[in-house]
């Protein structure tokens, strides 16, 4: 992997670097921003914010609900044992199990969506990263740029250090 | 495979497969060939007789195949055999009528008790230490024969005494016969809760020296003076069966039950009306009722005949027994006396009953005679709904009282003890143990080492009743005379022998055999007076109550009840009232001490049965323990709470037991169940609780010399808080306990 990137101590500078890259004709999707914290209040932190996760949560909840319904009702009918004079399929108590499984489905679906869409767990091999990020620096860079030399000026903002990865 | 597992497997599977499969040495036991033809899993019903009290209930034993560790010819081994699993009342038996009491249900544990003696024993330790070593039957019988021969050789046959219970039946007959033929005096009989006072009174009043049989089924009004007829007294099962019918069985007529006692017993707890009375004044109340009945002209005094005539002042209308005077003496309100008398006399058939504590006073005979006279006055003797006397197949054996062998100058040289434990069941002040220690040779036929058999030099353990021929001739309890015998329900587990057979054997082996010779065995002896051809049969049903197997029943089937009661010659005595005498000064010993037969253990002879130990007492729910019942309000005043350790002191000793405050006892009385406090009586009873009999005064009923076990006064002292010895099954005593009432003050 080849890459060129800058490390910035301040998010304002990172935002500027992102803006410069855009100005240099780099597509939004090709700009990598890596940070040790989320920057909700900066534009660069909002890129790619759209996600199907809430819908997946709803779908997961529905799957859980159906599972809960089938688990309770079908097993109760499969071997009808009478207890406490209750109906064989007893809705009131079953609703509790159905509720729990609905919520479990939603949670699990959200987490699966998270893992899939955030590519976790994943390998960092061949991907742009710099351990200095964990010290608080914000990394803005481009992986496999077509013309690294042209991008370096865009990243060279006062207060940032430009690095490049060869091989 | 551990030991416990082993038991479980045999119990659950009942097969040998699991046992032979593993190589544990414990399982490599000798296997005897099955002795009988029993189909696994199929129950057979065999008749027997419950031996635990004098009632003599006929039972059916449910026999099923099982694997038992047994002794055969001195050799231990495992055998598949028929084992008694459960006892039910025999529906064909006129006494039990297919029912059985809690004690009878537990009788099966006598056979399987882990501490039952499996072979003859010779004493090795000090007398009373309980240390014995097993010996063979040959040795044991030779020793007994030798001892008796030595007596005979010295011409001292009179120094042989046989101590037993006064249970009517062929067994006692045999003992008496053998003693007589040997040249010894009649057997000595001892029963703590003896009914001899009542028998004597019945002889005086009605000419029948025996216990009455009640026809409660047809009674409309019952006044009961202290008899625990639903619990421990006389023929409790038969009486309970009839009681059930008296309550709900007469088609809308429900008899009234009035109970008179200073303490609310289990029987009293069922009464419609409870009349608290001063101890020992029951006879006064009975005569008070008679007075009112006579004065009101409902019945004429002469109607009582002889039963009235023996009461001083009867013919004069009992002027000393006006309701006011009765109230003074008994504490029962005059108005109540009037009302009870009129109710009693106007709801015929009515019956009055007396037994238990009222007769265990110095004036017990008077109390009994007074109640008899009341019965006679309302014409309830020998009548439906009244009392009657069953004709007896043979005269009762004459016995001697225990006191005859206690005195230093009448100590027997050889004492044979069978099924009685006076060392435990008599007041310490009688010094029974000391007296027995003076006897040079004691042999016991007991199955267990108890306080009395521990003094024995030789123990020749009897079969259990389920393993031997048994016979009983109940003197009461049935509309039909029912001497009954039954064969063994199962084969013996151990190297034991039936005591009657041993006695017969000994009688033949004596240097001068007893003559004329008796049958070889008890079975033959019973066969001699039993119609042949009635053999126990196996019912088809699986449900026990469908069984109709019955014992060999002898005696007439004629109903005797309505026959005129036999009348012997009047003795021409008239008895006058005397105040009951209590041992202990009322100022120093303010409480009446009322020991009572425990529902579970009677006089303590059943304290070794674990089911009965764990059976909650009907009134207190106590299990595995002793306790003192004390009036709840009096306890509150004295700062005594549930479980507090109380010391009860009489002039003759003291015992400590936890307190149970109860609303069912008079404020000037404390009560204790009898039965616990064994020092030596198997693992289940030894060292458990205390024995209230020990501190009783040696007072006796004046006329009959019977122990007056209700005539002791005591003082009490709280000596500590709960010591965890009180084990109750129940929580609260009331359905809505006071402390949960209301919304606060």
């Amino acid at each position: 992997m080849k890459a060129v990137y800058g490390l910035y101590a301040e998010p304002e500078l990172a935002q500027q670097a992102v803006d410069n890259l855009r100005a240099a004709g780099v597509a939004d999707a090709d700009i990598t921003v890596i940070s040790s914290e989320p920057f909700e209040h900066f534009e660069f932190g909002h890129r790619d914010a759209k996600t199907v996760m809430p819908w997946m949560a709803v779908v997961g909840g529905l799957v859980g609900m159906t599972t809960g319904y089938l688990l309770t009702s079908v097993t109760q009918m499969a071997w009808p044992l009478k207890t406490s004079g209750m109906p064989i399929v007893s809705w009131w108590p079953n609703l509790i199990v159905i509720f729990e499984l609905t919520m479990l489905g939603a949670i699990v679906a959200s987490v699966i969506t998270l893992l899939v869409s955030a590519k976790l767990p994943g390998s960092r091999a061949g991907k742009l990263y710099d351990p200095e990020v964990s010290d608080g620096y914000i990394l803005v860079g481009v992986e496999n740029p077509s013309d690294p030399a042209r991008l370096e000026p865009a990243l060279a903002i006062n207060g940032g250090r430009v690095k490049s990865v060869e091989s | 495979m551990d030991r416990r597992h082993f038991i479980k497997l045999t119990a659950i599977t009942g097969t040998t497969a699991a046992l032979t499969a593993c190589g544990n040495p414990e399982n490599q036991v000798i296997r005897f060939i099955p002795e009988e033809d029993i189909v696994p899993g199929v129950a057979v019903w065999k008749p027997s007789i419950c031996p635990l009290c004098q009632a003599g209930c006929g039972v059916l034993a449910r026999v099923m195949e099982g694997e038992a560790e047994v002794f055969r010819n001195g050799q231990p081994g495992v055998i598949r055999m028929g084992l008694v699993k459960k006892l039910e009342g025999n529906p064909a038996d006129p006494i039990s009528q297919g029912k059985l009491c809690a004690r009878g249900q537990a009788a099966v544990q006598v056979t399987y008790h882990p501490d039952r003696l499996g072979s003859p024993q010779r004493r090795v330790g000090e007398r009373g230490s309980g240390q014995f070593k097993p010996i063979s039957w040959d040795e044991a019988i030779a020793e007994l024969v030798g001892t008796l021969d030595a007596l005979a050789a010295a011409g001292d046959q009179g120094a042989l005494a046989f101590l037993t219970r006064p249970r009517r039946g062929r067994r006692l007959d045999l003992v008496a016969q053998l003693l007589a033929r040997f040249g010894a005096k009649p057997p000595v009989a001892y029963e703590l809760f003896s009914d001899d006072v009542l028998r004597r009174a019945n002889a005086m009043s009605f000419g029948s020296h025996q216990l009455p049989t009640l026809d409660l089924e047809h009674t409309r009004y019952l006044i009961n003076f202290g008899a625990d007829f639903l619990g421990t007294w006389n023929s409790a099962v038969a009486q309970s069966v009839a009681y059930g019918r008296m309550r709900q069985g007469q088609g809308g007529l429900r008899g009234k039950f009035v109970h008179v006692e200073p303490r609310l017993s289990q029987t009293g707890a069922n009464a419609d009306e409870f009349v608290a009375i001063k101890p020992g004044t029951e006879g006064v109340l009975a005569l008070g009722l008679a007075h009112v009945i006579m004065v009101a002209g409902i019945r004429q005094g002469s109607a009582a005949g002889r039963a009235g005539a023996v009461i001083e002042g009867w013919s004069a209308g009992l002027a000393d027994y006006t309701p006011d005077k009765v109230e003074q003496r008994t504490g029962v309100k005059a108005a109540k006396v009037e009302r009870l008398a009129k109710e009693f006399a106007s709801h015929l058939p009515a019956v009055a009953l007396v037994a238990g504590a009222p007769l265990a006073h110095t004036n017990g005979l008077f109390n009994a005679l007074a109640v008899n006279a009341l019965n006679a006055l309302v014409g309830s003797v020998g009548q439906p709904g009244g009392v009657a006397f069953a004709p007896q197949p043979s005269a009762a054996v004459v016995t001697r009282p225990l006191q005859e062998i206690l005195a230093a100058n009448t100590v027997p040289k050889v004492l044979l003890v069978d099924d009685v434990n006076p060392v435990f069941a008599s007041p310490a002040s009688w010094q029974v143990k000391d007296a027995l220690l003076r006897v040079p040779f004691i042999a016991s036929f007991g199955s267990f080492i108890d306080e009395t058999s521990a003094l024995a030099d030789l123990i020749l353990p009897d079969h259990s009743f389920l393993e031997s021929w048994v016979h009983a001739a109940p003197e009461s309890g049935s509309m039909t005379a029912v001497p009954v015998s039954a064969g063994p329900a199962m084969r013996p587990l151990y190297d034991t022998r039936s005591t009657p057979d041993v006695l017969l054997d000994v009688s033949r082996r004596l240097a001068k055999p007893i003559s004329p010779a008796l049958p070889n065995t008890f079975e033959e002896l019973l066969g001699a007076d039993t119609p042949k051809g009635v053999s126990p049969r196996t019912p088809k049903g699986v449900s026990p109550h469908t069984a109709s197997g019955d014992g060999r029943t002898t005696g007439g089937d004629k109903p005797f009840l309505f026959a005129e009661a036999p009348r012997a010659k009047a003795e021409g005595l008239s008895v006058r009232y005397t105040d009951p005498q209590f041992d202990g000064d009322a100022a120093q010993y303010p409480y009446h001490f009322m020991p009572y037969p425990s529902q579970s253990f009677l006089d303590g002879s059943l304290a070794h049965l674990p089911w009965l130990q764990e059976l909650p007492d009907p009134m207190t729910s106590g299990m595995w323990c002793s306790w003192v019942e004390i009036n709840a309000q009096a306890a509150e005043k004295a700062g005594i709470h549930l479980g507090d350790l109380i010391e009860i002191t009489s002039a003759h000793g003291s015992v400590r037991a936890p307190a149970v405050p109860s609303p069912g006892i008079a404020p000037d009385a404390v009560a204790m169940p009898v039965g616990q406090g064994h020092t030596m009586f198997t693992r289940y009873a030894s060292g458990r609780g205390v024995n209230p009999i020990a501190i009783l005064a040696p007072s006796v009923e004046a006329a009959t010399r019977q122990l007056a076990w209700s005539a002791t006064r005591v003082k009490i002292a709280r000596v500590g808080g709960p010591d965890a010895s009180l084990i109750l099954f129940a929580g609260a005593t009331r359905e809505r306990p006071e402390e949960t009432h209301g919304r606060g003050d």
């Binding site: 044992l81 406490s84 | 059985l100 639903l230 419609d272 764990e614 059976l615 006892i665």
Partner: protein, 235 residues
């Protein structure tokens, strides 16, 4: 026709003698726990005779009341069991399947009659008391709840018997151990579906009540209340 087993308890007949208690122990292999365990509340009595005092001496009265499993139609013990160890059988018995019981003891809490008993330890019978054990009744191991079964082993045997003899069950032919022992016949057992049976008739007696009826468990045991004595002549 399906059976519906029930019992009538005549409190006017019951004398508190507790013959039923021992009979039950003998029939159902109920372990004796011993003094130490009894003191710690582990005594097992599938049937017990409750005793309640009313009033104070000398105006004191006593109520006896045998309490056993009421075999409720809407038994609160059943639904709470997570493994169906406690459930209603076809005969209307409140069945306890020992093998399925894992010992949550929830049923014991839910039962308002406190008639369920728990095996806190493996039961022991000191030899040779084990020879008495009823081979028709399984032995319960540690950690298992147990309770009155209306002597289901007798019910099963009776069904086999009448089938082999091709006949109907006679009323009164089948009795649990407690009813069989009861000297005063205070306990009457039978088929509530048979309107002619003694138990069915007694269950409709005006004296009949159910224990804790308000709690809605719909017990199949009917208690016939004790009657007061009245003077027939006074009417």
């Amino acid at each position: 026709m399906a059976y519906r087993w029930g019992m009538a308890v005549d409190l006017d007949r019951c004398t508190g003698c507790e013959a039923c208690v021992t009979a039950c122990h003998a029939e159902n292999n109920i372990p004796t726990v011993g003094a130490g365990q009894a003191a710690r509340g582990r005594a097992m009595h599938w049937i017990r005779v409750e005793r309640y005092y009313e009033g104070d001496f000398p105006d004191v009265r006593v109520k006896f009341r045998p309490v056993l499993c009421q075999h409720c139609d809407a038994a609160p013990c059943e639904a709470v069991c997570p493994t169906y160890a406690s459930h209603q059988s076809e005969d209307g018995l409140n069945a306890q399947v020992y093998n399925r019981c894992i010992g949550t003891r929830y049923c014991g809490n839910a039962c308002m009659y406190n008639v369920r008993f728990f095996n806190f330890f493996n039961p022991e019978w000191e030899k040779p008391l084990n020879l008495q054990l009823n081979p028709d009744v399984s032995i319960r191991s540690v950690g298992v709840m147990e309770k009155c079964t209306f002597c289901v082993q007798r019910i099963k045997a009776a069904k086999v018997l009448i089938k082999s003899e091709n006949r109907d069950l006679k009323d009164g032919e089948l009795q649990p151990a407690c009813a069989q022992a009861c000297p005063t016949t205070a306990l009457v057992f039978g088929d509530l579906n048979d309107p002619e049976s003694r138990v069915a008739r007694l269950s409709h007696s005006p004296r009949g009540t159910k224990l804790l009826e308000d709690l809605g468990a719909e017990p199949k045991v009917t208690y016939l209340q004790k009657q007061a004595w009245y003077e027939p002549d006074a009417h």
